[in-house]
């Protein structure tokens, strides 16, 4: 009954999305509040229905109902509860349902929380969101339905891929999809603004919280995915410029650019066309990401065309949605009113430079990701574009972007004082160059690129703090007054500073880990040792352990560091009999910000039993993941600022009213 209720709810959600589109559009055209309101009601209904469908599917997974073919193909009764839950979005069909739920969820959020939106703009946003929902729900219901039933269910399911049976992989997709789909609201706002012909400061203000929320979720999603790759794949790396990773990185870059250009539009009313263009671009890249990952095109360019229900349909949806958005842009953008003017050296100018670099970086990543696919489709020749391409193209662009970054917040709007900003950044420049020089001469002699990276990282962190201190006039006023100013700074400022510091922290981690990683691999018999960096690992033994749905060899290695014995590490090599697949469970021992990382390999046969042990010393690896989390936290703090300021405004008004009454 629950599975069938899910099937019905999915179809109801599809119909309600269409109703949301139709009623909202009609409400706007006829200026009819009743129709507009009914469209809002439909959006709430669509969310409730799609959430019902989603949780019905989850129930089928939890109870291992193999009469639901999607459950039979992606779950097993022996899977632990967490992974039966996570298998809900582990398959193509389930993840599309999650996507649909997020789409309708954002639509509902606009309907419920967008009370302050104009009655002209809001129905258009909801109509666009309804149209997107209708497209994706049609795809899910008619071409990728997760509720297809089997009259003769198999005794057991085929089980979720073991490398996905991991806590981080379980929570990574919901964050990622919330981020991806969050940009759909921004897209819908852009479409609505283009139809209305009005992109101004107020519009940018309404778009900002949605952009911030989507961007923060996407940042967390990408970070979780990267951390998963870091410890689950057992290769020691954390970013491989793999098309699946790039698929999530491209909307992030577009969203980051949007976040910055929208500030210019909000504060000065300038760059309306560009901001709207980025708003359309961010969700287009989200859809492109879904297409790349979900169509099978990455496995083989030719495979996706064979199954028309997947690739071709997703590509069609992408074409319809993005095509309509950009066609509207081409038609309406020339009529958008340009906002305030500004000198090249100004806060706006710095944000434009930031956008140029980010757009360039986005184009580079898109080229590196899509070119091999296009080439393979045209000529049949498979080529792979890897890290060297991105290091030579993306790297320099971003390095320049980071170099300019600390200037931006120190420049005034309209016309800035570059010399003044440079003087204020004197300490940051001195500190970073000094550390860079020490790095080049002492820490990693001769490694110029890593020294440049360290300089940039320190420059970002100290430069961001400088802006905070300048605003609080630290050193100019007394310490008590400076503290008062610091605590009085708006949360938006704190959020921005935290995000920029997070970026610096990430750069430091990425550079130090990449240039300073030490790797050692050796077949060890019990009692033998392996040296990696300053640590000695001694194999104490390997025992067989039984997991809930796997058997494993668990190695125990005693760690001896510069300060003597330091505990044991227990990497595992797991075997999942249902999938007949082995995975590595890496053991990671955090030493401050750095990681000692050990992988247990296969047992070597012949002679005394030995096991291949691979060990890595990953200096400052934690910063790679901590930095982006700081960035996301910055985004959320900025998001909270808006609400607080509304409340503060209301309190101020009440106080004023009280004074007047008195």
């Amino acid at each position: 009954m629950i599975a069938e209720l899910g099937a019905f709810a999915l179809l109801l959600a599809f119909v309600l999305s269409l109703a949301q589109f139709g009623l909202s559009a009609a409400g706007r055209i006829r200026r009819d509040a009743g129709l507009r309101g009914a469209g809002e009601g439909a959006s709430v209904g669509a969310f409730i229905a799609s959430a019902t469908a989603f949780f019905a599917l989850m129930y089928a997974f939890v109870t291992s109902d193999f009469s639901v073919s999607n459950v039979a193909a992606n779950s097993h009764s022996d899977q632990p509860l967490l992974y039966r839950v996570a298998a809900t979005w582990g398959s193509h069909e389930g993840s599309m349902l999650l996507w649909c739920m997020a789409l309708s969820g954002f639509g509902m959020a606009v309907a419920v929380f967008g009370k302050g939106l104009p009655t002209t703009l809001k129905p258009l946003v909801l109509a666009s969101q309804g149209a997107l929902g209708g497209l994706f729900m049609a795809y899910t219901a008619f071409a990728s339905n997760p509720f297809v039933r089997l009259a003769t269910p198999p005794v057991e399911g085929a089980a979720l891929n073991p490398i996905l049976q991991d806590p981080f992989m379980a929570i990574h997709p919901p964050f990622l999809y919330t981020g991806y789909v969050g940009f759909s609201v921004v897209f819908s706002f852009a479409v609505a603004a283009l139809i209305e012909g009005r992109v101004d400061a107020a519009w940018a203000r309404w778009v900002r919280p949605w952009t911030l929320a989507a961007w923060s979720f996407l940042t967390v999603g990408i970070t979780l995915g990267s951390f998963w790759a870091y410890y689950e794949l057992g290769w020691g790396g954390w970013w491989f410029w793999d098309p699946v990773e790039n698929a999530s990185f491209m909307p992030w870059l577009a969203g980051t650019a949007l976040l910055h250009s929208a500030i210019v539009t909000e504060k000065r009313g300038a760059l309306p066309g560009w901001t709207v263009f980025l708003a359309l671009t961010a969700f287009t890249f989200s859809m492109l990401g879904a297409f790349l990952v979900r169509s099978g095109v990455l496995t083989s360019v030719h495979a996706f065309a064979v199954d028309p229900t997947r690739g071709v349909l997703l590509l069609t949806i992408l074409g319809i949605a993005a095509g309509s958005g950009f066609a509207l842009f081409a038609w309406r953008a020339p009529s958008l009113k340009a906002g305030g003017l500004f000198a090249p050296i100004s806060r706006e100018g710095a944000l434009v430079v930031n956008n140029l670099f980010l757009a360039g970086a986005l184009a580079t990543v898109a080229l590196g990701t899509l070119y091999p696919l296009i080439r393979q489709a045209m000529t049949g020749e498979a080529i792979s574009v890897g890290a060297p391409f991105f290091a030579l193209t993306f790297g320099p662009l971003m390095a320049l972007c980071l170099l300019v970054l600390p200037f931006g917040p120190l420049l005034s709007w309209k016309r800035g004082d570059l010399l003044g900003a440079a003087q204020r950044l004197f300490v940051a420049a001195g500190a970073s160059l000094l550390v860079g020089l020490a790095w080049l001469l002492v820490v990693q002699p001769g490694k110029g690129f890593s020294a440049i990276g360290v300089v940039l990282g320190i420059w970002l962190v100290v430069g961001s703090l400088t802006e905070l201190f300048v605003r609080a006039r630290v050193g100019v006023v007394g310490s008590g007054e400076a503290w008062r100013r610091l605590t009085n700074l708006p949360r938006g400022t704190w959020g921005m500073t935290l995000a920029h510091i997070g970026l610096g922290v990430f750069v430091l981690g990425a550079v130090v880990e990449t240039s300073g990683r030490i790797e050692a691999a050796q077949a060890l018999t019990v009692g033998q040792s392996l040296q990696v960096g300053a640590y000695t690992l001694t194999l104490k033994g390997v025992e067989a352990v039984q997991g809930p749905n796997y058997t494993a060899d668990r190695g125990t290695l005693l760690v001896t560091g510069p300060h003597g014995p330091g505990g044991a590490m227990t990497p595992e090599r797991r075997f999942y009999p249902v999938n007949r697949q082995a995975t590595s469970q890496v053991a990671i021992d955090a030493k401050g910000p750095s990681d000692l990382y050990v992988v247990l390999g296969e047992q070597r046969t012949g002679g005394q039993p030995s096991w291949l042990i691979r060990a890595y010393w990953n200096p400052w690896a934690r910063l790679i993941f901590g930095g982006p989390l700081l960035m996301a936290l910055g985004g959320l703090i900025s998001l909270s600022d808006r609400r607080l300021r509304i409340a503060a405004g209301a309190r101020a008004r009440a106080r004023l009213a009280g004074e007047v009454a008195a």
């Binding site: 599975a3 209720l5 119909v15 009601g41 409730i48 709007w413």
Partner: protein
Amino acid sequence: MGVPPSILFWPAAATLAGLAALLMLWFGARAAKRAATVDVDDPARAVYRRQLQDLDELVERGVLPAEERETARAEAARRLLAEPTKAPERSGSRLWPLIAAAGAALAALGLYLWLGTPGMADRPYRARIAEWKATPVNRLQPDQMAAVLRELVKDKPNDPKLLALLGRVERAAGDPVAAMEALRRATVLQPDNADLYAALGEAMAAAAGNKPTPDAESALNKALVIDPNNQAALYYLGGARAADGDGVGASKLWRRLAALLPDNDVRRGPLLATADQVEKGQAAAPASAAPDASAVSGDQAGFIRGMVASLKARLDASPNDPAGWARLVRSYRVLGDKPAEAAALARARTLFKDRPNDLGPIEAEAK
């Protein structure tokens, strides 16, 4: 016992559709009422007013330079003045939302009747296990029996008999890896049981694609250490020797096995003939006189044969089941019943001659 859950589907679906319809009507009525009563100000003005307030507040907090405040103030004030003050909207009809709400529910119902499976109940795993537990064993298929046994093993993880039975049933159900795991656990609990080691060795070789592996040979040797006359171990170890190219060694083991079989055993002749062949280096394939079933004690062999017979009956009744045919071919091979295996294979070839994708796995089982 109450209402079957599938009957609750229609009330639940109606509630969901009704809730959605009510939401549309309620939101519609609310918006219409507001449009009629509230004097709607352009919300953009609220944004610009708030921007002005923000500026004042930042100055009050002492974190905004005065010159920046003045220019920003002037700009926000200009925007405030430039905006239209009102955006008129009529309250509109209530009929259309009603039509839309009813239409949406009906459309969803129509689509569901077209695409869904009305009336089909959930089939949660626990309930199915309970059904199979209540079904007579001879009417269960091997994989269903294995599922029941797996549940029993969860309650009694240290029962070697249960694990041994599970191992053999998993093997009959065509999952040598699961069979291997169960038999391995059984041998740990009962290390002096030669039959278990012989079955484990066979499962290990099967899990490796019917190739002898060092682990498999070590298990078979262990069986022979415990019981030098263990027939299954002699047979499979002979096969392993033959596959390794040691014809003499294979022949020796098979002759030992033939000597243990009664004179009137039909398998003796073919076994000795194969032993002769491998000794001369002619054939490495084991004879059809496979004593697999002899490795299975009376009750269990009967049990497995019963399951295979029920599978055969099911396939005769509804033959369009390639996986079932693959399992049947495999089961006959495990039981050593060559003629039945050949007959099943021939039938499957006729059935699926136009469906190479379905026939492939069945042919693979026969190799």
